[in-house]
């Protein structure tokens, strides 16, 4: 009888801790939102490499800009943030961005 009671109480204690622990955990699941870039030469490389660190709406939301500004942005991603983008890929990406998100200058 006593043993049963102790087991019973123990069950309460364990269940209580489990409940409290669960109550102390906050968890969310972020939505999977994919952004598609304009089709064109260099799109795949741009999508793949830029997507390592950020979603592609970081590109699509920007105002249309001169090629020099896109070049400076790609350089910033490489030199300041260490994006693993080779010289050749940087050239491809810059050309692509200027062609599809540029202002023709």
């Amino acid at each position: 009888m006593k043993k049963t009671l102790i087991s019973f109480l123990l069950l309460f204690v364990v269940a209580g801790i489990a409940y409290a622990a669960e109550n102390n955990v906050r968890q969310i699941t972020l939505p999977d939102i994919q952004v598609r870039l304009e089709p064109g030469e260099g799109m795949d490389k741009t999508s793949t490499l830029c997507n390592i660190c950020h979603s592609l709406d970081y590109i699509t939301m920007q105002p249309k800009a001169p090629k020099a500004q896109w070049a400076a942005t790609v350089t910033k991603m490489r030199k300041v943030f260490g994006a693993p983008i080779s010289d050749g890929d940087a050239e491809t990406i810059t050309k692509y961005l200027a062609a599809h998100y540029g202002n023709g200058k």
Partner: protein, 395 residues
């Protein structure tokens, strides 16, 4: 404009059907990005600037209310590994560095400090960046990267006092649980000069409008530096370090800087000679009702209403113009909820007759700071506080 609204509406209408289809896996998820509204966990539908890391803007109609509900407060993260799970059994706020007693506080321990609270505007440094001319790169916010929230938590200075700051302390740095996706990307760490950090009103908030913070707004606790831009309001705060030399981290030394000029501005398109870390918010006002593009009937009175705030000083006056800035009249100010809160204002207007009207509002704070009629320019797109124009048609 009308066409845009229409296409946006039809997109929104279609979104429900898309959601159902997406749940069945019938269409790719990128369809959602098309209408640029998104619902993230614990948040309502907000304007989607970016998905990863998330940047979500509050639609202006939420600012009809004095207090912005938690689910509607804007979201802005910098580096993509953001906390999506926090276990309060293991979460600790660590205080270390140039202190005599290192601390590792649980939430229960943090809550044992005196609880203080106030209402304060939270505003992104880049709020309004999308309105800059010439345009600048960065988060293309309209005016919805702000909100007015009642915060509560422990005073930072009380926590620092318990850790016994040593003499010779210079800066205090703040790190949260977010982490960069690459080791080469500087972690988001912010700092304040020690004198600023010890001010009475800076708190470590664990309550937002009486509730725990939503994860995307910095659960379980964030720093509140009222009157200053939210770049300092480090989310999911986990580590406070007292430094005996100036903080050299990227996000203070290189990023979030403004020209060191009285207006914080430079000639559009030019580079500042010298910069300083961004700090106090500029004075702002915004017409919320009527919304831009509203049509109303001649002969019926129209209430113009909105909000005004500044970086830690009470709003002394809001003036309104209904003729594009030629003449100005004083608006009636609503309840004063302290120098960090916004104030609501209203102005009863009876349009003289049919026509197109340009409404404007301009606020002045208690130390005379006001708003420019032309946008002041800086390369990073900060400090936006131009007197905005709301166009209405009276028929």
């Amino acid at each position: 404009m009308d066409d845009q609204l229409l296409s946006r509406r039809s997109l929104l209408k279609g979104a429900g059907a898309f959601t159902a289809l997406a749940a069945l896996g019938a269409i790719p998820s990128d369809i959602f990005a098309a209408d640029r509204m998104a619902r993230f966990p614990e948040k309502t539908d907000l304007m989607l600037l970016t998905a990863r890391p998330p940047q979500l803007e509050t639609p202006l109609h939420f600012f009809k209310n004095m207090i912005t509900p938690n689910e509607a407060v804007f979201v802005r993260w910098h580096i993509s590994q953001i906390p999506t799970s926090v276990d309060l059994n293991t979460w600790r706020l660590k205080i270390g560095g140039n202190v005599d007693r290192e601390l590792s506080l649980s939430m229960d321990e943090l809550k044992k400090f005196d609880k203080v609270g106030y209402t304060a505007v939270i505003q992104c440094s880049g709020n309004g960046r999308g309105l800059f001319e010439p345009r600048v790169f960065g988060g293309q916010w309209g005016n919805g990267a702000m909100g007015n929230v009642t915060w509560a938590g422990a005073r930072l200075k009380d926590v620092l006092a318990k850790a016994d700051i040593k003499a010779g302390s210079v800066d205090v740095s703040f790190d949260g649980l977010d982490r960069p996706p690459l080791a080469s990307i500087p972690d988001l760490v912010k700092s304040l000069p020690v004198d600023k950090a010890l001010e009475d009103d800076i708190i470590i908030a664990y309550e937002m409008n009486g509730q725990p913070l939503p994860m995307l707004n910095g659960f379980p606790a964030r720093l509140i530096v009222p009157g200053w831009y939210a770049t300092y309001w480090v989310k999911a705060l986990s580590e406070i370090t007292v430094l005996n030399k100036p903080f050299e981290g990227f996000w203070v030394k290189t990023a979030y800087r403004i020209p060191d000029t009285p207006c914080g501005c430079v000639e559009p398109g030019s580079a500042p000679k010298k910069t300083i870390p961004i700090n106090r918010m500029t004075t702002r006002s915004l017409i919320i009702e009527p919304a831009n593009g509203t049509a109303s009937k001649a002969g019926s009175p129209l209430e113009i209403s909105g909000i005004a705030f500044s970086g830690g000083y009470r709003i002394r006056e809001v003036v309104v113009s209904t003729d594009g800035g030629r003449t100005w009249k004083e608006a009636r100010l609503g309840r004063d909820m302290g120098k960090y809160s916004w104030v609501q204002w209203s102005f009863n207007w009876k349009p003289e007759g049919p026509g197109n009207y340009v409404l404007m509002a301009k606020a002045t704070n208690s130390i005379g700071e006001s708003q420019p009629f032309e946008g002041l320019w800086n390369p990073a797109g900060y400090l936006w506080n131009k007197v905005e124009k709301t166009e209405v048609t009276v028929r």
